[in-house]
Structure formats: structure tokens, C-alpha cells
């Protein structure tokens, strides 16, 4: 294989979206300048980039705070989501009894529950991570469960014929075959985690040195600094992309040699 093949693959993967991003930003820059749009409505992309550079220490510190909470929330939703799905998949009656209640995680308005979490858990990292978990766990549960119950019945029968117990069937057949679904759920959860983290920070985040991007957004908005708002939003989006990309990469590695979804 050519030594430049990895570079070509990298450019082929990331080049098109980067070109679209740059073109989009140029269009917005030209439009804002031509229309003389007020800065408090839409700051120029060049001003946003300048703010990203000039205030990088401040913004990166906030990004790190948000990242910590997002990772804790995502980790909890990944672990709990898979565990809950395994429990639900283990029995038809358990599934029928408890599945409807998992929808609670999808529908609960985080703005209502965040203040209560800050009372039960203390404002800051704990409450924010809990919000991130609540917002992101449902897709993991739903997708993992879908994969677990969709195992090829012929293979399940084969395991039964060979005297495999429930646990063996679950962990040696059902769970491995549901891995593509698990990673689908984790990909969706990755983006939702960032949203849940930032929104929770609006309400229960710490101010000061440990403030996250959500607090930066609210504070900048309140003080009229729309360039800082957009800079923080860009960083939050980048975090979401990074988490999504990481899950994608891990998924490809895990599924690489045996599942069609990891080959393209």
C-alpha cells in the first residue's frame, strides 16, 4: 500500500466538510458585511475567530469544564444504558413492565429537573453530569435493546441445543451481535450529552474558574458579547463532534473484522 494512502484517506474524509465550513463562513462574512447586520444579532465569523484566539485561555478552560461533565455523563449513560437494556432483554415480562418508563429519560424537560438535581447533588459538576446522563441515556437503552432482542432465532436455538444458560446466551451471543446497535445508540448519545451538559450549565453550572461553556454563553449573552456566545457555541459543537467521532472510531475498531457496518 502506498505510504500516502492514509493521508489521502484523511483528506478525502475531512476535506469536503472543511471546504463546506470555510465556504459557509465566507458567505456569512460577506453577507453580514454587505447587509451591515448588527453585531448583537450575528457577529462576523472573522470576529468570532478573533475572539476564539484572543480569549483562548478563558474559552479553553470553560471547554475543559464542560468536557469533564460531558464525559462523566456520557460514561454513566453508556454503562447504565447497556446494563438497563440487558436487564430488559432478559425477560419478556420485565421488558413489558419497565420499558415504558425508560421513555421518561427521553421526555423529561431538563430545565425543570436541573434545579432539583442541584439540590440533591450540589450545583456544578455533579448536577450538570446528572443532567447530561438523563438527556443521553435513552438512545443507548433503546438501540441496545433493539439489538439484543433482534438476535437470529436460529442461533438462539443453537445455543439452547448445546445447553447454554441464559447468561451465556446473553453475553456470548446476544450482546456481541447487538454491538452495532450499541454503537448507534452511543453515537446519538454523544451529541445529546453535550447538549444536556451545556443546557444544565445555564441553570446549575458553577461560575468563576470552574465555569463551563453554558455559563460563558449565558454570561456573554447577558453582557452583549455575541462574538463570545458564538465562539462558545462553536467549541461546544466541536466537543460534540469530537465525542461522536471518537465513538465512531472505537466502533469501527471493535466491529472492523466481522461486521459490514464497519467497512466502507
Amino acid at each position: 500500500m502506498s505510504s500516502t494512502a492514509p493521508l489521502r484517506r484523511f483528506v478525502a474524509s475531512f476535506g469536503p466538510p472543511v471546504v463546506v465550513l470555510v465556504a459557509g463562513m465566507l458567505l456569512v462574512e460577506l453577507y453580514v458585511r454587505w447587509a451591515n447586520t448588527p453585531i448583537y444579532l450575528v457577529p462576523r465569523p472573522s470576529k468570532v475567530l478573533l475572539t476564539l484566539n484572543l480569549e483562548r485561555e478563558y474559552l479553553v478552560a470553560a471547554l475543559w469544564t464542560t468536557t469533564k461533565a460531558a464525559l462523566v455523563g456520557f460514561g454513566a449513560s453508556a454503562f447504565s444504558g447497556v446494563a438497563i437494556a440487558i436487564v430488559l432483554a432478559s425477560s419478556v415480562w420485565v421488558r413489558r413492565a419497565l420499558s415504558p418508563y425508560t421513555v421518561f429519560f427521553q421526555t423529561v424537560p431538563i430545565i425543570a429537573i436541573a434545579p432539583m438535581l442541584s439540590i440533591w447533588l450540589a450545583p456544578g459538576l455533579k448536577a450538570v453530569s446528572a443532567c447530561a446522563f438523563i438527556v443521553s441515556v435513552f438512545p443507548v437503552i433503546a438501540n441496545t435493546l433493539a439489538g439484543l432482542v433482534a438476535t437470529d432465532p436460529a442461533l438462539v436455538d443453537l445455543f439452547r441445543l448445546y445447553g447454554a444458560g441464559r447468561a451465556a446466551t446473553m453475553f456470548k451471543l446476544r450482546f456481541p451481535s447487538s454491538l452495532p446497535n450499541v454503537f448507534t445508540g452511543l453515537r446519538v448519545a454523544a451529541g445529546l450529552t453535550v447538549i444536556g451538559t451545556v443546557v444544565a450549565e445555564f441553570l446549575v453550572g458553577e461560575l468563576g474558574e470552574e465555569q463551563g461553556l453554558g455559563v460563558v454563553i449565558v454570561s456573554a449573552s447577558h453582557n452583549g458579547h455575541s462574538d463570545r456566545v458564538f465562539a462558545a457555541v462553536l467549541l461546544a459543537s466541536a466537543l460534540g463532534l469530537a465525542m461522536f467521532g471518537t465513538v465512531n472510531l472505537v466502533g469501527r475498531r471493535v466491529l472492523a473484522n466481522w461486521h459490514a457496518s464497519a467497512r466502507d
Binding site: 448588527p38 453585531i39 448583537y40 444579532l41 436541573a114 434545579p115 432539583m116 442541584s118 439540590i119 450545583p123 456544578g124 450549565e201 445555564f202 441553570l203 446549575v204 453550572g205 458553577e206 461560575l207 468563576g208 453554558g214 455559563v215 449565558v218 454570561s219 449573552s221 447577558h222 453582557n223 452583549g224 455575541s226
Partner: protein, 333 residues
């Protein structure tokens, strides 16, 4: 496929309907004036929170007919989302309420908004603590361990500068008073006309410190308009100011009827709290200064002081001339 042709009768009916709709939508360009209710100028006023005694005078102006008397038909919209000055600047609403420091921030961002009426002469912004903590002054909030729920607003920057080496943990302000009720060590930002009264009603022990007493006292619940409206429609602005003055006079003197109206719009505040809040805020609205001038009146000195404070806090870069920031009701003939 057949193509149906409109008959002449159908076309005539359609044209007549279009003309009727067009006439109905035609804006009334007449200037407002006393007694011209049938030609009242339609305007909108967006509030920056839910209906509470803080906005009582606006509802009183509507209910008492003060707006109508001055040729205005004002649609009051509670709880504007986000910074209300943006809504005014972008023609989403004609008037809105905000605080004086937001006017300065808005103008630095290029939004041509001007203050026309200031409800609170003394800002009701405060910090609420539990009485059991034994604090005697606002300094204690910052010099003792604990948590303060507050938004990162100019007043907080002012206090953090005033009390360097603060040991209190700062967290975002959560809605409602549940966190204050649950945690004895929690201090919380508040309007002294609202949250402390709710806490008292919940059998808590709130004690409040006014931030104005610490030296930061922007006009609050300030009615703003677009600068172009102030320049191009001075008669509308004058009538609006007069109507607001009458509405607030009526509300300060007797808030009961208006409280009943607002109580239907805001079910979260009971009648007793409405009455108490209206009572507590009276001294913040009608001060010695307004007794000499008029309700809602503003002064150049107050605006200059605020502008300089915001420059010192690096909230704005430059203090604009005070004359650009407000319209003085007493200057209107």
C-alpha cells in the same frame, strides 16, 4: 386534464375580499391624542418577566384606560425571551422593559435604544440569605464560606470588585426558591419585592441586602424605545410617558384591582404576596426625587454614574453622553 376558468363573479368576490383585508390592515398614521380611542395607535410593550407588581403600573394604565385616554392601544406581552433591547432594536416590539445597565450595553453594541421611563428609582436587586446565618451586612455574604446563586451580571462584578478575596462559591442562579429553602448555607440573588416574600410564605427565614446600598444602583424596570421613534414620533413618546405616569400613580396609590388582573395571568403568586410585593416596592418607586419631579423621571447624574461604573468594570468600553441614553419626561411640553 381540464382547466377550470374563474368566472367573473368569483374574480369580483375575490377582489372585494382582498380590498377589505387590505383596508383592515392599513396602519393608522394619525398621531395619538386625547380622546381618540377609535384611532388609537397600536403599540406593543414587552416585559422582561412575568406579570408581577414590578409591572403593575403598566397593567394599571391599561385597566384604568390611561393608555386609551392618550390615544394609545398598548398590547402588553409578558416575559420577553432573551435581552429585550434586541427585540426593540429589531422592531419586534415598540417598547420593552429592561434595566439601565442593559441600555448601556445595548448602545455599545450599536442598538439605538433610549430609556423613556424608569419604574424603580432604587434597584430592587438584592441578595437573600438565611437570617440564622447572623449576617449583618452584604460584605458577610462574600467573606464567609457558602454558596451564592447569581447570574454573571454587572452588579455581581461590582460586588466581587468591592470585596476582593471573596470566599463564597458562585453558581448559576436556578429558577425559583427551592434551592434557597433546601440549603441553609445558600445565598441567592433576588428582587426584594419577590423571592424573599415567597420564602417568607414558605416559612423560611430570609434576610435581604440591597445591592443599591452597596453603591450599585441602576434604574430598573426601565421602559425603552427605539431612538428613531423618539426622534420621529415625539408625540407618541410623550403620550406614552404621560400614560405610564398615570398608570403607575394609580397602581402605587391602590394596587388591589390591578393585582387581581395580574393574578389571573400569573398563578404562581398568591394574592397576599401580590399585595405585600406592591407594598414593599412603593418606597423604591416613589422616592424623594420623584416626589419633586414625577414618577419615572431620570437624571443625567444617575446615568453618568452608572456609565462610569460599567466602564470601570469593563462591561462597556466607553461612557456615552448621558443625553443619548434617556428622554426626560419633564422636558416634554
Amino acid at each position: 386534464m381540464s382547466t377550470r376558468v374563474w368566472t367573473r363573479r368569483e374574480i369580483a368576490v375575490l377582489l372585494a375580499l382582498s380590498a377589505a383585508v387590505g383596508l383592515g390592515c392599513k396602519k393608522d398614521k394619525e398621531a395619538p391624542g386625547a380622546g381618540s380611542a377609535s384611532h388609537a395607535k397600536h403599540l406593543s410593550l414587552t416585559l422582561d418577566w412575568v406579570p408581577e407588581p414590578e409591572f403593575g403600573g403598566f397593567y394599571a394604565a391599561r385597566e384604568s384606560g390611561a393608555f386609551g385616554t392618550h390615544g394609545l392601544d398598548v398590547d402588553i406581552k409578558p416575559r420577553g425571551q432573551g435581552e429585550t433591547w434586541k427585540l426593540v432594536a429589531q422592531h419586534v416590539t415598540d417598547f420593552a422593559t429592561t434595566s439601565a445597565d442593559q441600555v448601556l450595553i445595548a448602545r455599545e453594541q450599536g442598538a439605538d435604544v433610549v430609556a423613556i421611563f424608569a419604574v424603580y428609582q432604587t434597584s430592587p436587586q438584592g441578595i437573600m440569605v438565611h437570617k440564622a446565618r447572623g449576617f449583618s451586612k452584604i460584605d458577610d455574604v462574600f467573606t464567609n464560606p457558602g454558596t451564592l446563586e447569581a447570574e454573571d451580571a454587572p452588579w455581581l462584578k461590582y460586588l466581587l470588585r468591592k470585596f476582593p478575596g471573596s470566599v463564597v462559591k458562585l453558581v448559576s442562579n436556578s429558577p425559583g426558591i427551592a434551592s434557597f429553602l433546601a440549603k441553609p448555607e445558600l445565598s441567592k440573588q433576588c428582587f426584594i419585592t419577590s423571592e424573599p416574600l415567597q420564602a417568607l410564605a414558605a416559612d423560611s427565614d430570609p434576610q435581604t441586602f440591597l445591592i443599591a446600598d452597596a453603591g450599585y444602583n441602576p434604574y430598573t424596570t426601565v421602559v425603552i424605545a427605539r431612538g428613531e421613534m423618539v426622534r420621529d414620533e415625539p408625540e407618541t413618546i410623550k403620550q406614552m410617558i404621560l400614560a405610564l405616569r398615570e398608570g403607575w400613580r394609580a397602581y402605587v396609590d391602590d394596587p388591589a384591582a390591578t393585582n387581581a388582573v395580574m393574578g389571573k395571568l400569573n398563578r404562581e403568586m398568591d394574592a397576599h404576596t401580590f399585595a405585600e410585593s406592591a407594598r414593599v416596592q412603593r418606597a423604591l418607586i416613589e422616592t424623594d426625587a420623584t416626589k419633586k419631579s414625577a414618577l419615572g423621571e431620570m437624571t443625567t447624574e444617575r446615568w453618568q454614574t452608572l456609565a462610569q461604573q460599567l466602564v470601570d468594570l469593563a462591561v462597556i468600553k466607553k461612557a456615552p453622553p448621558a443625553r443619548e441614553l434617556f428622554v426626560s419626561p419633564l422636558a416634554t411640553p
